[in-house]
């Protein structure tokens, strides 16, 4: 066959083949998810937007008037932004010369005037103040962790992997303190469903006003409210019907585990403020348009007192991409979207 005729036929055949694959692929929100939402109209309006110079920012904390952003790819870099999204200031944490830690895994937490740098694979924890940014090694008797939440100047809650006698790891919560006993394991709060590590993934947040911790699972409709001694206060449920994590995990001969199918996210981000729980959901309700998430993010609001559902807010998105981190402060919602930090005013 002539090369160009073959090429044309081949391109056409490939397009048809791939489109057939796409047609038969499982798409999220294609089927009804079996729940309904109460959407507050115009619950969030975009007030300000600040262009960020670099990608990969996350929210590290806030003080009275300032928002602090850390960066996943530059672990000592801290960006201070006034909450009106003006007056940005680039800061660099200073750590003693010769200190070694896993650069890209380190996260900054700001609890003004204190600032912490935590990295759980070494593990390494540093403490300093926002005034001079001089960080010093802190809490040597800690344990390995993959998530850390600062609670007070003397205590932290971590999510760590606990190995049983058979060598299977699973996530547990741990309280780390500056005095004896330094480490306190709470093995039964996070519940294993599939593999113990991936299936229990989620977000850990702390509300300073009420002293409550909140663990929200990524792949099931569940969250747990805890006190700072890791005693369960209640188990709440998000609106959707995913009681079990829909994930598939392959264990490789090297000992590493990997997803072997696209994981079905339910709750991708969460934040606690104003005695409320804000959960960014990836699922569309039956009373919403199936493309409701195309140019908005859906945030469901629950009461922190008992986990009861209150209402839903639509957060309008600009073209730049989806929310990768957010925080609520009073009647303002700050969200990192790709290369920008957006400030929304929300109704209470």
């Amino acid at each position: 066959m002539q090369p160009f005729r073959f090429a044309a036929l081949c391109v056409a055949a490939c397009i048809v083949l791939v489109l057939i694959l796409y047609a038969f692929a499982e798409k999220p929100n294609e089927k009804k998810n079996g729940f309904t939402r109460r959407v507050l109209p115009h619950a969030a309006t975009l007030k300000n937007s600040l262009e960020l110079k670099y990608p990969a920012y996350y929210i590290a904390g806030h003080s009275e008037e300032q928002i602090y952003l850390g960066n996943y790819s530059a672990s000592l870099h801290l960006l201070r932004v006034h909450q009106q999204l003006q007056d940005t200031q680039q800061l660099t944490l200073k750590i003693p010369a010769g200190e070694r830690y896993a650069w890209k895994l380190a996260r900054i937490m700001v609890d003004s005037p204190a600032v912490y740098l935590a990295e759980g694979s070494t593990p390494a924890l540093y403490r300093g103040t926002l005034d001079d940014l001089q960080m010093s090694r802190f809490l040597q008797q800690s344990c390995f962790f993959n998530v850390l939440q600062q609670v007070s100047s003397t205590s932290f809650i971590s999510r760590s992997i606990h190995m049983d006698s058979l060598g299977n790891g699973r996530n547990i919560l741990v309280k780390i303190k500056t005095d004896s006993p330094y480490v306190n394991l709470a093995k039964d709060i996070i519940k294993k469903q599939v593999d113990g590590v991936f299936c229990t993934d989620g977000t850990l947040d702390y509300d300073r006003q009420t002293g409550k911790l909140l663990y929200v699972y990524h792949y099931r409709n569940e969250f747990i409210a805890l006190d700072t001694n890791l005693q369960t206060l209640y188990t709440g449920h998000t609106l959707d019907t995913n009681t079990r994590a829909k994930i598939q995990v392959a264990k490789l001969p090297t000992g590493v585990s990997k997803f072997s199918a696209p994981p079905a996210y339910v709750n991708s981000l969460a934040s606690v403020a104003n005695n409320r729980i804000y959960i960014l959901s990836t699922l569309v309700a039956d009373n919403e348009h199936w493309q409701a998430r195309r140019d908005t993010e859906i945030i469901d609001v629950y009461s922190l007192d008992d986990g009861a559902y209150m209402h839903t807010m639509y957060i309008p998105l600009e073209e730049k991409g989806r929310i990768s981190d957010f925080m609520v402060k009073g009647n303002q919602l700050f969200a990192v979207c790709d290369h920008s930090l957006n400030a929304y005013t929300i109704v209470q």
Partner: protein
């Protein structure tokens, strides 16, 4: 008349081995100098062109052999990982166990076709088909899905999706060039 006969004969030879094409023409021309003015058949420019074409086609084949053998071997070495990661692609989750074997196997077969002169033409066509399929797959996946894993094998996995796209398009274009030059050589 003599010239067209030679051409037919030459074309017949190509079916077996196009590498011998130029030398055969050259030999035959030398054998029967009385039929031709000396620079009629073996004009330096024509010879240089076909030499160039041949070199280009061979370089393209070599590039494809390297590419396919390298990626196929790295897929086989890291088989469990490859199988898990292609499962993460929403388009092929269901076919991941089959594709994890079929894709690297097909790459090896195409590399073999390119190595064996008889099947080189088929090999070039198959390379083009393979690269087109990968390219269309990438375009569809990148436009329709936001988080996508990659498991193309070895260092090629380190490329970004845009780099991947350009890389694939360049290779598809090379295959097309190879197919075209090959056909021209066969009909020259």
């Amino acid at each position: 008349m003599c010239q067209s006969d030679k051409k037919k004969q030459a074309a017949g030879n190509i079916q077996n081995n196009f590498l011998d094409y130029d030398s055969k023409i050259a030999n035959e021309c030398q054998c029967e100098p009385e039929d031709f003015p000396e620079n009629y058949c073996v004009t330096p420019s024509v010879n240089a062109y076909s030499m160039l074409r041949k070199t280009v086609v061979e370089t393209i084949c070599l590039l494809f052999i390297l590419l396919f053998v390298y990626t196929a071997v790295s897929k086989f070495i890291d088989y469990q990982n490859f199988r898990a990661v292609i499962g993460q692609s929403p388009l092929i989750t269901r076919f991941a166990p089959v594709l994890a074997i079929v894709v690297p196997l097909a790459e090896i077969v195409i590399a073999l076709l390119l190595v064996i002169p008889r099947y080189r033409r088929a090999g070039l066509y198959a390379s083009f088909a393979m690269m087109t399929l990968f390219t269309v797959y990438i375009i569809v996946l990148v436009t329709l899905s936001d988080k996508i894993p990659c498991s193309c094998g070895g260092v090629i996995s380190q490329m970004s999706w845009t780099q991947h796209l350009y890389f694939n398009i360049v290779f598809a274009a090379l295959a097309l060039l190879g197919m075209w030059l090959y056909t021209k050589l066969a009909h020259a």
